[in-house]
Symmetry: C2
Subunit: 333 residues, 2 copies
Amino acid sequence: MNFPFFVCILGSSSAMPAFGRNTSAQVLSHNSRLFLLDCGEGAQLQFRKYQFRNSRLDAIFISHLHGDHIWGLPGFLTTLSLSNHLEPLVIYGPKGLKNLVEHMIVASQSFIKYPLEIIEIEPSNSFPYIVYENKGLQVSCFPLQHRIECYGFLFQEKPKRARFMYYEAKRDGIPKEYYSLLKNGAALVLQNGLEIAANQYLGEAPPSFSYAYCTDTRYSDSYLPYIQGATVLYHEATFTQEFLVRAEETAHSTAQEAALAAKTAGVEQLIIGHFSARYRYLDTFLAESQSIFANTELAIEGRMFPIPPPAILPLTEGLEDASNHDRTTPDFE
Amino acid sequence: MNFPFFVCILGSSSAMPAFGRNTSAQVLSHNSRLFLLDCGEGAQLQFRKYQFRNSRLDAIFISHLHGDHIWGLPGFLTTLSLSNHLEPLVIYGPKGLKNLVEHMIVASQSFIKYPLEIIEIEPSNSFPYIVYENKGLQVSCFPLQHRIECYGFLFQEKPKRARFMYYEAKRDGIPKEYYSLLKNGAALVLQNGLEIAANQYLGEAPPSFSYAYCTDTRYSDSYLPYIQGATVLYHEATFTQEFLVRAEETAHSTAQEAALAAKTAGVEQLIIGHFSARYRYLDTFLAESQSIFANTELAIEGRMFPIPPPAILPLTEGLEDASNHDRTTPDFE
């Protein structure tokens, strides 16, 4: 499996580990750069178990300071240092995170050899605001409705470059030296007098996708505008509908409420997680959510979810298509 | 396996998890009461994996504040509370522990519902001094030689009651009502005029055993007097002899040095652990230690070590003995 954009679940248990489920942590991978989303106890073990590489890690995003989302941080950070990680790392999270992490590092007389920066989200800013960006991705944050200050994150691919129409350029006998100019949409007059208009060999830009991470939160329409139209939504579903009152009391959501969020926000796929330790089996979560939003998946540890979710063609359509297949792959494949 | 006194290894990796080995943690069980020795990340998962019961836990002993010995604490303590543990719990450890744990609990807005006391070891006291005792066990602490303040612990069984000679009392026709007096060594005159001297039906007291826990430490003879004659010694062995210089630099010990400690202190059995993450295989540790102290065992996760170690009779001796076996078990067995 080699997707440019995917999320892998490292932990999906609420409050404490239960039934083999670890507390909250996920790895988001985009163009081979990695981002850690929350860091429950044991996240470093899970990160290694699923063979993610330290050297690809760029940033950590912490939703809130409840222990089941942060107790893996000191071990994760110190093990990185002991493993001779030297690249800079940035952690984004709510107020208090910097003080807490620094206190833990100092009290344990640990050393962090790489440049570590902790950037706290400013609650007085207007939301959503961008906390992180690189060449191809931007991450914005927005407030959720929990018992303590808690943030959701939206990971959005930036607009992509238009596809270069390689076969058409080759067919027209354009020398290869001009390709990089053409990829940038330049207008040219070749030495043989051939005129090429701006963007002549550029096709459509591939679509950009996004991943919304919403945990922990009481279901509310307050944060739905921020995740409107996201490709994939991870939404906490701590309880089944039977425990709606408990969900209200503890500022969590039920599976049906997560599904309602997905439906209202018009996402393609919903992943539900953060399951209460009272549940051994998760089939009720799935059934309840799917009754409202069909394309729901359970956040099972080790599962990877490509973004966008792969479209599965019905078998007959695939077979029909095979006969008049428009070959667009290069000759050498 | 139902031993009154044993230790179970939960983690034996130094500094960071490696090759399936978790960071330091052990459970010591004495008369069904449990004690946690250090609490590396993931200790709560290991504690549950090996099916120890929260309700039997009385105290936690922390050797020092390096992360690989404490990062499991916040998760362990909060999960206990979430699991409706209500009995008091005491943690013993070096200065700074109380502040660190309280900071972590407060910053994460966690709640500890049971009475939790953190007692810091006073370095100006004269060592060894007793930090904990119950009816049958006392625990003393003493300084080790590490880069930061670090303590070893000696778990000693208190002198046991003399064995009541049940069969002899029965043979002599003593009515059962007198047994509890006789167990306490009372002198009696029965109604039929029979005189019983003090301690007449008391045999020898069973021996008392002890467990010494020494991690992390540079090998030195400074702490050997405190563990002299211990039944079982756990001694760190972070390196093989090849890395002696590194052991000196980092204030750790080699397997041979751990063996030397065991030999000099005259213990019955040595358990070595706290293996550096540079080692995938541990056979060199065992070979090097056994070259100096034969009865060495590796601290493998999940292994239980009875205290004292069970004596294995040679097969022939066992067979000879079987013929003139002196039956001392009650009739109903």
